[in-house]
């Protein structure tokens, strides 16, 4: 690192930028890489996603949290082209990505992983990695018949894959079938594979789900390393401890909407977040006799409806 001499005086520039951002839903960011406007997705009568405006800061780690069924994964699927919204638009690095198929979104530099890991089981770990490389002439049907046309690129890709696998402690497994890896190793492989595409933004859908605590630490380290290399990370997570530990900014979704955003230290104390997670009347004692009063009950019901 060249800026070693100035470490004691510098504050993380991303943190600094974000410290000026207002902690309200849809607040503008100084350098937004992903800007979402009026995205709606309905499943029959149920509105799964209803996001008016959201900006994601570039080169920062943004966590997307919210209770089960808040629409986080659906929102992810919409942004990455795996689902089509009923309306709405969004831009990534200034280019509109709305309605683009998933492969094009990935080629634009926004690469995702999945909640249920999708390791390609009957391919080796190394082939999983090589498959993700971009601009491989050997992936053309006709060129593939003439190995001299693509052998050089294959060597480059293999070298790069070895480097990334080394970093994720998977190099020893390179020649094993991906199906033989443990759940945690598959999460690592999926993240490593996404890196093979040289993404500008990486979208992780619950990277810590079903991973043992020791591996969680290492996964968090990898996520931070991605940010330090200049990548933007947006991740969905349930593990609040992990979120607080690693993220620069937190966006909270509930019932399809964005109900709060802010720095991780303060957002958890936001009334809207507490309501979203625990219900607005979580401290109301159900044994309270006053609930028997129809007037009070009606008032509470009215409040619930308004939310």
């Amino acid at each position: 690192m060249s800026d070693d001499t100035t470490t004691e005086t510098t504050v993380d520039p991303v943190k600094l930028d974000l410290s000026h951002v207002e902690a309200t839903p849809g607040s503008p960011k100084p350098t937004s890489i992903l800007t979402v406007d009026n995205v709606r997705r309905r499943f029959g009568g149920m509105t799964a996603v209803d996001v008016d405006h959201l900006e994601v800061e570039a080169k920062a780690i943004t966590a997307l949290i919210g209770p089960n069924g808040a629409g986080k994964t659906t929102f992810f699927n919409l942004l990455t082209g795996f689902d089509v919204p009923d309306q709405g638009s969004w831009t990534f690095e200034g280019h509109s990505l709305g309605g683009k198929p998933a492969a094009k979104v990935a080629r634009a530099g926004m690469v995702r992983t999945f909640q249920l890991t999708k390791a390609l089981s009957r391919l080796t770990v190394m082939d999983n990695m090589r498959l993700a490389a971009r601009n491989h002439p050997g992936e053309n049907m006709f060129a593939s018949l003439v190995p001299p046309l693509w052998r050089r690129r294959e060597v480059e890709v293999t070298d790069k894959a070895s480097e990334i696998l080394e970093r994720f402690n998977l190099l020893a497994k390179a020649d094993d079938f991906a199906g033989s890896l443990s759940g945690g190793q598959r999460k690592l492989l999926e993240m490593a594979r996404a890196l093979m595409t040289d993404p500008t933004m990486i979208m992780l859908d619950e990277p810590m789900a079903g991973v043992n605590p020791a591996l969680v630490q290492s996964l968090l380290g990898h996520i931070q390393a991605l940010r330090d290399e200049g990548m933007t990370v947006l991740f969905v997570e349930h593990d609040m401890h992990a979120v607080r530990h690693v993220s620069d900014w937190v966006v909270v979704m509930a019932e399809g909407r964005i109900v709060a955003e802010g720095p991780p230290e303060s957002v958890m104390n936001d009334q809207a977040v507490i309501d979203a997670y625990l219900g607005a009347h979580h401290d109301t004692d159900l044994g309270d006799d006053s609930l028997l009063d129809p007037a009070i009950l009606a008032r509470l019901e009215e409040e619930e409806k308004k939310r």
């Binding site: 990455t80 690469v111 999945f114 089981s121 049907m141 294959e154």
Partner: protein, 327 residues
């Protein structure tokens, strides 16, 4: 007991043109199912279309290679037509569409509407389209024998047909070997495992599936040409049971292996012959020859079931590779 003659017949099946035709069709199906995970249940339809394309254009006066090209284009167009609506849907739909499309081809072929071109249910006789192919033969007339196998040099059931058919199969094996060890083949295998994962890495999954469908379909239509060279074009001999034979061959040899379809076809037909000829000579009074055909067909069905249940990786497949396929 003419035990030797039965063995000889089984040996002959190893190199029979029909065995080669089925091997090539299974190679095409292997590209679909073994490498890309596409469930094509209508490979016989591709074969019938190739046979019609070749025979009808030859009868219309086309030279051999033009007629072959017509068969290839027919197979490619059929694949394109089936793929456009179905490749975006889940895999099972392709199975339903292909099996019905193959039946449609057969029904249209045997209907009286196109009697003039297809000959209806009686089909097209071999002599009407074989001349151009036999005319290409450099072999002198006469008979030749290699070991116990003796055939005419030229003609329907000849060495010339065998040489051409197996050369085509070898070329197809070479192509599949080159394709599947390349990065292109790696993408296909990735799609077989999980197409959403491949999509998320920026690959145009639809285009790859289409390429695989067309390539395998063309292999099927050329196999159809090989299949009819020693006989007539008979729509009813190229129906669903043909598709199931091809599946049995593929699963016997081992899906997603380069040599599996070829060895599978050789074993399938020689054992099939051994069984039928064996039954015919062992129980000549107990069962009629028509019944023997039917018993043979039943045994094929039982073999297919046993394979899928007990040895899904086939003869050449890697058991380890298959054991991860638990989803």
């Amino acid at each position: 007991m003419d035990f030797l003659r039965i063995l000889e017949q089984a040996l002959g099946e190893l190199i029979a043109p029909t065995t080669a035709a089925y091997a090539l069709a299974a190679i095409g199906l292997n590209l679909h199912f073994g490498y890309t995970g596409l469930l094509n249940m209508g490979q016989a339809g591709f074969m019938l279309l190739g046979a019609y394309g070749f025979a009808i254009s030859t009868i219309a006066g086309a030279p051999f290679f033009v007629a072959l090209l017509v068969a290839i284009i027919a197979g490619a167009l059929f694949a394109l037509l089936l793929g456009i609506p179905t490749l975006k849907l889940r895999g099972d739909y392709l199975a339903i569409v292909t099996i019905s499309a193959a039946e449609i081809i057969r029904m249209v072929g045997r209907s009286t509407v196109f009697n003039e071109q297809t000959g209806g249910s009686s089909g097209l006789t071999g002599n009407s389209f074989k001349e151009t192919f036999l005319g290409l033969s450099p072999l002198p007339d006469g008979r030749s024998a290699i070991g116990p196998l003796e055939y005419l040099n030229n003609g329907s059931d000849s060495w010339w047909v065998r040489i051409v058919a197996w050369s085509v199969v070898l070329i197809a094996v070479l192509l599949v070997w080159l394709l599947t060890r390349s990065p292109w083949g790696r993408v296909l295998k990735g799609i077989r495992e999980d197409e959403d994962a491949v999509r998320s890495l920026g690959k145009n999954v639809y285009a790859y599936k289409m390429q695989a469908l067309i390539l395998g379909g063309v292999a099927g239509s050329v196999a159809g040409v090989l299949f009819v060279l020693p006989r007539a074009v008979q729509p009813d001999s190229m129906g669903r049971s043909m598709t199931f034979f091809i599946w049995t061959i593929l699963l016997l040899g081992g899906a997603a292996t380069v040599w599996g379809p070829v060895i599978g076809s050789m074993i399938f037909f020689s054992v099939y012959m051994l069984l039928r000829a064996g039954m015919r000579s062992a129980l000549p009074d107990a069962v009629s020859s028509a019944q023997i055909e039917q018993i043979g067909g039943m045994l094929v069905g039982i073999t297919l079931m046993c394979l899928v249940i007990f040895r899904p990786q086939g003869i050449f497949g890697d058991k380890k590779e298959l054991s991860f396929n638990v989803r």
